[in-house]
Amino acid sequence: MTTETLSKPLIPPSTHEFADVIHRLEAGGSMLPDTPENLMQIIGIYKAYAVPMDFYWRDLLYIAEHVFLNPLPALKYVLPQEYLDLHNHYAGDDADLRIWRGEATAHPELLEFIEKGELKQKLPKLLHHLWHDRINMEFAEACMRAMFWHRGMGGQFDPYLDSDEYKANADRAIRAYFQGNPLMLGLYNLFPEMFLEQVRELSYYANLGLFWEVMAPVFFEMSDLYDEGKLTTVPEAMNFLVNGIFAIAGRPIYHHVYIRGECYEIIPKSKGFMWLYEAALPYVEAVFYRTSPFRGTKSYNAQARQVPTDQKDFHYGILYADVFPVGSAGIPPTLLMQDMLHFLPPYLLDYYNQYCRGEDDMLIQLGVSFQRSMYNVTSAVIQALRTALLYPLDDPNPRHLIANRQFFEAQIDRFTRPEARLRDIQKQDYR
């Protein structure tokens, strides 16, 4: 990678701790080294991620739009047919912008899983549910909560939740939803802030659902292109994501609620909230970088300052996470890995069977692959931001190249923390 910078003597080589990575980014590469093994891992994982994601976004929207403030949402993880048939805006023949060449309705593998589960048997849905043989929506909710808890990560969506306009919209929806229910209306009059806060959370359900509606077809398409032999390097995979980010950047982010067939616009599309600024960037910040420590895996002593006092200093996201506790009950990474395990492409199953403990520790092996793939997604975000806000990589102006360099270095500085896994993913034997 360093040889490529030698051919561009416009600016001196970087002296950063991760100079190799910086030079690779400047040459149009990814933070993840370009090896066929890495490519296979990340594409396989994108596919395995996209199938449960196809469920996540549908259910997130279902909860935001229909379950809404149901005080006993026992069936919120059971999707009605209407939402399984809901057309993804970026797949199918009637797509706004066709990213995936597949169908707009729920993915066939997802439908089969909903029907038969990992037991591969058709049993009453309740039994599958009680056996926990289902998609772990709790993971999607954990991501949503990470965004909601951190808040204030840029964009206009979050400040809007505190505006009077938002409160008025929410108030109309709440009153309509609890019409004829004096108990809940009485509670609302007593504790209006509590209900508002619930609606804010539901707005983040919608936000994340709309965000993932885009990512699922993007990942499906990448997997198809790889299978067709049209995606052959890690930078190609990254550039597909960069282009995707731009293509979808203007997709509206909104929150509509349907009460007795009537649509209440809590966050109308006309607010001009965009996928890139109001959903994607806060998502990356909240889920990839910050989140919070997994419960039950390690004890942190806040008095000893083992947990940062400032939320913005949290670094527990997937780019930093210790994947090895995956398998511990109930932690979000376990839930996601378990979901992805059901949809791994055959080549990845074979690959994992060859290493470490094979089938026994596949959850962790795929967790590490997931970490690699998310470093690639983050690289795409960094390159997209560079494209949007800075200069082309082949810009002849050294001043512009220095600005790019400073941007890359500032981004990579976030990975100089000891717990960051950037160092690990440079090595193939981190698995």
Binding site: F246, A249, G250, R251, M274, Y277, L389
Partner: protein
Amino acid sequence: MADIVDIAVNADGFKTLVTAVHVANLVETLKSPGPFTVFAPNDDAFAKLPPGTIQTLVQNAPQLARILTFHVVPGKWMKADLEQVDSVISFEGSPIRIDTSDGFEVKNATVLAADIEADNGVIHVLDRVILMG
């Protein structure tokens, strides 16, 4: 003299911008007395955006309007005025960085033609669409 919209319509190389302004329902606004300063990306600038970007924006007028209003600043800011400041606040609400130390740069775009005066403001032509953030 003509207003900002008329100048753009009559000049070569602003087809995309003019279409976008129509779709976003900003024609009336830009014809109003203002005054405004418009950083106008030419067709080449729009073409530099990755494929699909414009398509999605054109489908969603409010979002497109937001990107466009980021290119508009209240008041009439000639190049000489902009040399005095580091940044200006756009209609969209986000700041726009101005750098006149070496040429005339607006954020990451370079001004191709400055100080095209109109009835209700001034136009500076950009070689790149600028984005918030």
